[in-house]
Symmetry: C2
Subunit: 334 residues, 2 copies
C-alpha cells in the first residue's frame, strides 16, 4: 500500500507523534516542523489510514442505513438526503437492503455492528423486538425514518400519516367530491396502513359523508397492487368520482387501469396520491398528491443522528409537514 505515518515521520525527521499532531491540527509543534511535515506528506502523497484511526478512536465516520428496498423511489429520495448531510459532515453511508426480511435485517445489523458504524438510520419498516434488542446491544445512536414506535424509544422523523391522509381526503371533498374511494396500503401496517385509513375515515366523518366499506380496498403500496385494487373497485359497480391512493405508485396503477378502461382522469375520475415521488410529476396527467419531503426527511434524520453521535445527547423526534401538491389529476366538481 501507500506510505504510512511512519514513512513520513522518517522522511521528515520527526516522530510519528508529531506527524499525527499536525495531521489532526493539534497543538505542539513549531511552524517550521509543521511546514516540513506538510511538505513531505504532499511529496509522498500520504493519506491517513481511516481504519487504523477508527480502531483507536472508536469512531469510523460511517453510518448504516437500512431500507426495505433500496431501489424504490421512496428510498432513493431519502437516501439522497441522508447521503447529502452525511457527506457534508464527513461521514460515509453504508446501504443495506433488508428486503423486508427479518433474517436479512438481523444479518445486516450484525455486519453493521462488526463494522463499528457510528450510528444507524432505520427506515420505513416497523421496529420489531428482535431488531430493537440487537440495536440496543450495539449501544450506538439510532434514528427511525418514515416509521416510529411507541414501545421502543428511538427518536424518529416522519410525517403525520393520519393527518396527511385527512388532508388528502379533505382536499377531494373541498373539490366537491362525496363518493370517494380509497386504495389503502397494507391493512395491518401500523405506520402507513391503519393511520391513513383513519385519516380518510375521519375526514369523511367530519364532512358528514358516510363511510362505505366497498369503497375501501387494499394494496401493498406497489404499482401492481394499485392496478389490482383499481380493478376491484371498478368491479364493485359502486359509484365514486375520486380515489385517494395511499401511495403514488398505487395511484399510477389506478390511473393506468382507468386509462385502459377508457375512464379519463380527471374528467371522469379524480385521483390523488401520496408521497410525491418523481413519477407524480411525470404522470399523465400529472398527479396531485400529498407530498412527503423525502430529501428533507433524509437530511434531517442524518442531522439528528450525527448530532447524537457527536454530542452523545438524545434528540427530539420530528414530525415533518406534509403539503398537497396540486397538479392535474383532480377535477373540481360543480
Amino acid at each position: 500500500m501507500g506510505p504510512t505515518i511512519k514513512d513520513v515521520a522518517k522522511k521528515a525527521n520527526v516522530s510519528v507523534a508529531t506527524v499525527s499532531r499536525v495531521l489532526n491540527n493539534q497543538p505542539g509543534y513549531s511552524e517550521k516542523t509543521k511546514k516540513k511535515v506538510l511538505q513531505v506528506i504532499e511529496e509522498m502523497g500520504y493519506q491517513p489510514n481511516a481504519i487504523a484511526r477508527g480502531l483507536i478512536n472508536k469512531r469510523t465516520q460511517t453510518i448504516g442505513v437500512l431500507f426495505p428496498s433500496v431501489s424504490s423511489m421512496f428510498s432513493s429520495g431519502v437516501l439522497h438526503g441522508i447521503e447529502h448531510t452525511a457527506h457534508e459532515r464527513d461521514h460515509s453511508v453504508i446501504v443495506c437492503n433488508t428486503d423486508e426480511d427479518g433474517k436479512r435485517t438481523m444479518k445486516y445489523l450484525q455486519v453493521l455492528r462488526e463494522k463499528q458504524v457510528d450510528g444507524i438510520i432505520f427506515t420505513s419498516e416497523v421496529m420489531k423486538e428482535e431488531y430493537y434488542n440487537a440495536l440496543t446491544m450495539m449501544n450506538i445512536p439510532v434514528v427511525l425514518l418514515a416509521t416510529s414506535s411507541v414501545r421502543y424509544p428511538f427518536p424518529f422523523v416522519k410525517v403525520d400519516d393520519k393527518q396527511a391522509a385527512y388532508s388528502a381526503t379533505e382536499y377531494l371533498i373541498k373539490k366537491g367530491h362525496r363518493k370517494i374511494a380509497m386504495i389503502s396500503g397494507t391493512e395491518e401496517d401500523p405506520i402507513a396502513g391503519t393511520p391513513r385509513i383513519e385519516g380518510y375515515r375521519e375526514a369523511l366523518g367530519d364532512y358528514g359523508i358516510p363511510f362505505q366499506k366497498n369503497l375501501l380496498v387494499f394494496g401493498d403500496f406497489g404499482y401492481r397492487s394499485g392496478r389490482i385494487a383499481m380493478e376491484k373497485l371498478l368491479q364493485t359497480k359502486a359509484e365514486f368520482s375520486a380515489v385517494f391512493a395511499a401511495s403514488d405508485e398505487m395511484a399510477a396503477g389506478a390511473i393506468n387501469v382507468a386509462y385502459q378502461h377508457g375512464i379519463k382522469v380527471p374528467d371522469h375520475l379524480s385521483v390523488i396520491g401520496y408521497d410525491n415521488l418523481q413519477i407524480a410529476e411525470m404522470s399523465v396527467p400529472p398527479l396531485t398528491t400529498v407530498a412527503q419531503p423525502l430529501f428533507e426527511m433524509g437530511k434531517l434524520a442524518a442531522e439528528m443522528l450525527l448530532t447524537m453521535i457527536e454530542t452523545g445527547t438524545r434528540v427530539e423526534s420530528r414530525i415533518m409537514p406534509h403539503t398537497i401538491i396540486e397538479r392535474q389529476s383532480v377535477a373540481q366538481l360543480s
Copy 2:
C-alpha cells in the same frame, strides 16, 4: 463497547490465538476447545471487530460506488444489483453521490482511499484523467458501469449504446414510421450521447430514410429537458409520426407535452424510450422502450469487481444485451 477477543480468551481459558483460530475456521485446536470457545462467544455475545480485522488483513470487505446522482431511477436499479451481490459475497457498499462534480468526486475518491475500500464501481460518468490517476494510485480493482473508456484500461459493463439506439429506431421503422424524430441526451456525451445519435442515423440510413436535422433535438436525459425538447420539436412544424427519446425520463416528458397539446400517444404520435426504468411501465400509455438490464448490470459489475478483489486477476469487459420491451406507446402505421 462489547467484549473483545481477549475477554473471551480469558473466560474460555485459552489464548487469543486459539479464539482467533476457531473464529476463522482455521485448524489447530481440539473439538473440545472449539466447543468451549464457541460457547463462551455465545454467552458473552461476542462479535469480532471488523475494523481491527481490516487493519491487519488489509481487507475491509467493503466496496465504494460512485453515482452521478444516487436518487435517479437509473442509479436505484443498478445499486440494487450491486448491493445484492455484494451482500451475497460478504461485502458492504458505501454509496457516493458525485453530483457530476469533479471536486466532489475527487473528495470521494480520497475518502474511499482513506477508508481502505477493497474496490470501486464507477458509474455513468465519463472517466477523466484526474479520476484515473487517483484511482490507479489507490491500487485497487475498479470497474466501470454504464460507461467505458478507451484511454483508461478499466473493465466495464454496459450496453452497446449505438446498437441499442439502432434497434429502437429500426423498431419504429418496421412499425411503418419514416418521419422519426430523436430527442437525444447531451450532445457531447461520448457514452450516452454521440453513440445513440449514431445508431439512430445509421438505422435511418440503412433503411433509406434521409436524416433531417430539424428532427434531432437535444436534452440532458432528464424529464424536464424531455419536455423542452418536445416543445421545440413541435415548434419546428416539421412532420414526424414517431420520436425516439434517449432516456425514459425524456420520453415521459415528451408524452406529457404531447398530452397537453392534445396529441394522443400512440394514436397521433408514437414514442419509444430508452432504459426501461420503473416509470416506463407506469406511464400512460405504458412506454415501449429499449431496456438496459439495470439490476443485472449492477450484479455483474459487483461480481466482476469481487472476482478481481478475490483473485487479483483482471477481468473481461462485458457488453450486456439490450431488448425492446413492447408496451403501448408505439402504433403500427398501415
